[in-house]
Point group: C2
Chain length 168, copies 2
């Protein structure tokens, strides 16, 4: 009963023993992807913590910045993009409101709706995170030359297109 996690190759070797019809090459890609994403999440999480931000807050800040000035979105839209229920959005915004990261007001053109906006403090937090994150990302990719980076990007986008059409 070992404590350290088996290496990717060990893992795939065991999978093949347990289930013969497995393509090792496919498995190598898929499992590397999920391991990589999990560890990157851990790394990002640590960085966020040093800035006093939770992962949940960071996700919302990103969406608000991503629409560009004047940095406004409806809660339902944010919820959809993050894969959350509207109820979860309500609570997140409550907390971020208390932290001074966002504003919330009724949409006067359609009073059913609510408008969530970014505060200056929220925008400043986003910038701080981006400065840290881009340094980390550059570190992450330092072993890859420009050609390899482009290649990797292309391959990932082809998978992304495929999975996107699958989900529709």
């Amino acid at each position: 009963m070992p404590d350290p996690q088996p290496s990717l190759d060990e893992q795939i070797a065991i999978y093949q023993r347990e289930y013969r019809d497995l393509d090792p090459q496919v498995e190598r890609v898929v499992n590397a992807l999920s391991r990589l994403d999990r560890r990157m999440s851990v790394a990002y999480g640590r960085q966020l913590a040093t800035l006093g931000l939770s992962g949940a807050e960071w996700e919302v800040l990103k969406e608000l910045v991503m629409v560009g000035s004047p940095y406004q979105l409806w809660p339902g839209t944010i919820a959809k993009r993050l894969g959350l229920t509207p109820a979860a959005m309500t609570h997140r915004i409550d907390r971020m409101l208390a932290a001074g990261l966002v504003t919330r007001e009724r949409d006067e053109e359609n009073r059913v709706r609510v408008i969530v906006g970014l505060t200056d403090e929220g925008r400043e937090k986003w910038l701080q995170v981006m400065r840290q994150a881009s340094a980390f990302e550059e570190y992450l990719l330092q072993d890859l030359n420009n050609e390899e980076r482009a290649q990797l990007g292309d391959l990932l986008i082809r998978l992304l297109d495929r999975v996107s059409t699958h989900l529709d």
Copy 2:
């Protein structure tokens, strides 16, 4: 205030406007990675649901199979590998015990420890999921030829090594 998510390129263009010192090529790789992983998680989640399994249960089954026969692990080890607290592990095992997927007994060689083992039903569930999942993964990679698959795997593993040393 748009409802659809911006494309990857649109997103990066906006990020660059908001924060000039950003390398678009790096950003392209990193954001494609996270989008891809999120959507794959949604796809896997749907598949699991059709088999009456939760993502949490699937994670634990994977770890147990991954150590090979006799499919036993200590709760603390599983918790570490999944990035959970021991408390969460206790509750997960409670539920999986009730579902008949695992067993739990004291380790007689060291009575502080507990041994979690896989039941035949748990092993069967793992196989069912793998059959579905490998079909999906083959679909996901269908646009890539063998050379591209190998390339992608290699590049991902180089990133994986990098982030792993970073976390130590």
